[in-house]
Every structure is written in C-alpha cells, then in structure tokens.
Symmetry: C2
Subunit: 319 residues, 2 copies
C-alpha cells in the first residue's frame, strides 16, 4: 500500500523515534536549534555527508534499512578518522511525495539501530518534500580530548602506512550489482550494505597516540592516501601484495582494494618506532607501505618493481 507521507508525518515519525535529550544533548528535536552541553577539555567535531538517490544508492538495489545505516555510517566513520567519539546526529531528509511509508520506517530503523549501537542521539534535522529522488544529508557531532585529534597532515617520511580490516569488498558488491543486479550474501554483503564504522579502533589509535595521521577509506585507498600525502607533504610507497582484500574470483580484487570506495576502514600512518599491534579494538591491522619524502604514490609488486599509483577512487554512480 502506498501512502502519501506528508512532511508533518515525517517529522512525527522521526521525532517519535528520536531522543529529546541524553548525555551531551541538552535538547534535541522540538526547538529552533538543538542544544549540546559544553564538554570541558574537549574539542567539538562536526562532519556532514550527503546520501543521494542514484548517486550514493539505488532504490532497487539498496534496502531502505541499508540506506539509513550507510547514511549515518559515513559520518561516524569521519568521526572515527579523527580519533573522536560521536555524540549526536542530525538528519535532513527530503522525500518524494509518493514514497511508501514503509520505506521511511525501514530507513529510520536502519539509521536508529546504528545510532543506538554507537550511543548517538538523533538531535534534529530538517524535512522537505523532494521534487526528485530521495535526498538525505547527515551531520554527526562528536568530541575528542584536546590535543588528541588525529589529522591528515601529521604523517612524516618514514612512517608506516596501515589499514584496518579489508579493502574493496564494498566496490566488488557494487560491481556485481551493476553486472547482474544481484548482490552476494555473507561477509561481502555486510561490507557493502551494513559497514561498521571503526570508531573504537580510531579512539584506541588516538588514545595510545599511535597514529601520526589518519583518514577513513570512503573514496578508495588511492584517493584517500593521496589526501594524506597532500596534507602531510609526503609521497607513499604501497606494497601491492600487502593490501588486505577479500578473495574474489578473477584478478579484480586488487583493483577494488586500490580504487573502490565505501569501505569505511581507517587508513593511518605511524612512526617507524611505534609498536602497532596486529589487532586494534578487535579489528585486524595491516601494514601496507610507507610514507616517503618524494611526492607521488607508487605501487611495489612482489618483484620489487615500482609503478606509479594514480588516485582513481570511486566516483559514485554519477561518474
């Protein structure tokens, strides 16, 4: 059954499911602004991410619950990449008039389940009727103790380059969807539809002051590593065989791992002398290369041959 979902209904629906206050949130939905409690000794972190139909997801491929989960996961992952702790989320949602109410309920369920898992309060947002497709913009506000934020700019030549988890699984699923319209099951499925932002790992790296620079892998390793290099004024060598990736049929897994997006793993550097454990907060950590003085990026194969690595990260569906 299709029901016209008015803006007022949407506000009621989200409001009924959202917290009005909790922890750092003095006042959530229900006034002109949300009010957050001051956090002495902390810096405030703010990040904002679009989730647009036919750019970041397709309605026929992505269940609404996954769209809600991913919309929030992108912001949580940005907070993780600073070594921060997420506190509050703001959801701006514009929906086509004829969208089934069920879609919105499923979206809200996916969004709020992830929010609950990370102790994040939905503290506000905006609603509108969209003249086109589904549009969401999610803001996540977090905090990090003063002086603990891990920036993109802190890497030095000689630092090791590390990633959490595996790379390329999400892009491999997308490729399969593009080819056949069907998604695989199991671990790969979760990597694409319900990625886990690495908040605990990011916090641990910041608290232990292990990471000299950090970013999340949202646009693809090659692109996100180029951001670390640019902001830090370094270059990078990546060992092809070290890049952790799922086992896929064919030779495509390296391509996805290097250039696929939406992994939401952490990419960080650590000084040569740092003792980086093999697991952080339960997540595998792999050394994949090192920062170098000469600007540029190079891929080193198992014979020690180097070739240039271009930033060719995933450009969403809009290409």
């Amino acid at each position: 059954m299709r029901l016209k979902l008015s803006e007022r209904d949407l506000i009621r629906l989200v409001r009924a499911r959202a917290g009005r206050r909790s922890g750092a949130v003095l006042q959530g939905i229900g006034d002109d602004c949300a009010r957050l409690a001051p956090q002495p000794g902390y810096e405030t972190l703010v990040t904002t991410d679009f989730t647009l139909e036919d750019v970041h997801f397709r309605r026929e491929w992505h269940p609404a619950e996954s769209v809600g989960h991913r919309a929030l996961a992108r912001g949580l992952s940005d907070i993780a990449a600073m070594g921060g702790e997420p506190l509050a989320a703001f959801l701006s949602l514009a929906l086509p008039g004829k969208l089934p109410r069920r879609w919105v309920e499923d979206f809200a369920r996916g969004f709020l389940a992830l929010a609950k898992k990370f102790g994040v309060t939905l503290a506000g947002g905006d609603t509108a009727e969209s003249p086109g497709g589904i549009l969401a913009d999610v803001v996540v506000v977090g905090r990090v103790p003063k002086g603990q934020a891990v920036l993109r700019s802190g890497a030095r030549a000689g630092d090791g380059i590390y990633v959490t988890g595996e790379l390329g699984g999400s892009a491999a699923v997308l490729h399969q969807l593009l080819q056949s319209g069907k998604a695989p099951k199991g671990k790969l499925h979760a990597a694409h539809f319900f990625p886990t932002p690495r908040v605990a790992a990011g916090r641990a790296l910041a608290v232990k002051r292990l990471a000299s620079a950090m970013i999340d892998v949202s646009d693809g390793l090659s692109t996100d590593l180029s951001h670390l290099c640019e902001e830090s004024g370094t270059g990078a060598l990546v060992n092809e065989h070290s890049v952790p990736r799922p086992v896929l049929p064919g030779a495509s897994s390296l391509h996805y791992a290097l250039h696929g997006g939406d992994d939401y793993e952490l990419l960080f550097t650590a000084p040569r002398t740092a003792r980086v454990p093999a697991k952080i907060a339960g997540v595998r950590v792999t050394r994949i290369g090192e920062m170098v003085k000469q600007k540029g990026m190079w891929l080193v194969d198992s014979h020690g041959q180097q070739k240039a690595l271009q930033a060719r990260g995933w450009q969403h569906f809009g290409g």
Copy 2:
C-alpha cells in the same frame, strides 16, 4: 558559456573562499571533520536547513546570490531565535553537472557575504553531483551562554506576544512572482531576496532576559505561533490590527502577514511586567497579542470580535 563543474572544482572553489580557521573554528575544510574550540560557560547550538530547487526557490526567479544568502539566513535566524551567536556554517551542495560555473560563484558570493557580515566561518560541508536540481543543506553551529537560551516552551498565560519588523512582505513578493513572474523593487524586494536574520535583536532579548519564549517566523506567523503555544501549553489571542505589515494594494496584506513564510523575523513572548522597548538592536518591535490559558488561537478584530486562527503557514512551492 556553460562549463561542467566537477565535484573537485566545486571543492576548490568553496575551499578557496572559506576560512580554514578563525575564532572558535580550530580547523575548517581539509580534514575528515571540522574541529571547533570548546567554549567554557556556553552551550553549543546546532541547526540544519534544506534549500531545494523548486521547493525553496526557483532558478528563473531567484538570482544565485539570493539563493546563497537565503540558504544561510535560514540557519542564522534559527540561532537568533534561541538568543544565540552564530560561529560556523557547513554547506552541503549538490549541483547538476551542466550548471554554469557562474551560478556557483554567485551562490558562493551571496552565502559568504552574509557569513562575513555575521562573523561566521564556512568550516566544512559536502559536495556531490545532483541527479536532479540544485540541493543545498546548511548547518549553522552557534553558542549561547549557559542558562540564556530562549526556548519555545517558556511562555505563560498573560505574557505579551511580540514580533520584530514587518510580516508578510516576503510572501507578497512570492505571490507577485507567481502571478506575473516579476518581482517588485525596493524594501519588499530585500525582504524576500535578501532577508536580514535578527541575530542582534535575539541576543539582546536573551541577555536582558526579556523574552520568555521565542521562535523565528519562517513558516508563517500562524504556524510558528502554534509551535510556541504547543510547546508552552498555552493558547494565544492576536489583535488583527496590530500585526505589523507592509502597505500592499488590496486587502491581502493581513493574509500574508498571518500565513506567509520566509519572514525571518522573531516572534517572542514577554511577561506582562517586562518593559519591552519599541526598538531592539535597531529593529522595530510590536506587541500583537497575548498568551492565554485556553488552548487554541484567536484573531481579534477592531470591534473586539474573535474568530479562530488556524495554523496555515506557507507550505513552500511544493504545497
């Protein structure tokens, strides 16, 4: 000349014009999150507002500079309505691939001129290619000294109801655009295309503790007053002849003043004993009625006759 504006170009354009740090903003654009400085003794305010093509503006009616100005003005007005001070803005902007670069430059100019006027740093955002029309979502972060925030819920029966400036001018311009496609010049023109958020007046009302409750008039007086009543658990009497409005041909000015939107004036209540001046921060203040115990809203005409006032605020163009 039409130029395809890539996402990378857009980031460069906005980044070149945005501050990286200033005042409360430790770090703006250029990392996974913006970092804001802790403000001891203050609460943090957050508000988020969509600006969508064909919902909040039309490209053939609204110059890009006005669209940029209004996109930010909406958030500044929300901060004003809490009695707060704006600090930082975040701009998420999704643009159609074929949009002329000129449009984006004009939008940015309008946005940043208003930001500069209010000492607000553009501290981040997101960019994407839009599969449909122009989409913006603007977050404004502000602050208010602890205990000074003016809420929607603080009004009591017997409190006077006040508004700043005049109401209905913006809606009158919109009506004229709908009728003839042409906008009037002069004061009315500015009310619609370049409204001034009442930040200084809002601050003054909070500092002097004059306002018991406050909201900005963005959806129309009748709708925004209904929010004050709902959150405060009161009703309201409005004196028809007191509602300040521009002189318009015909009898329509009252209708626009009651139900028109996008005024960005402040609507507030003050205890009977409060001495509310006729001007606050250079802006005229008018008493238009009073809060009453009985729930509901009534309009009182010059003969003392009461009729029910329904919340029929402006529903944007999508209505």
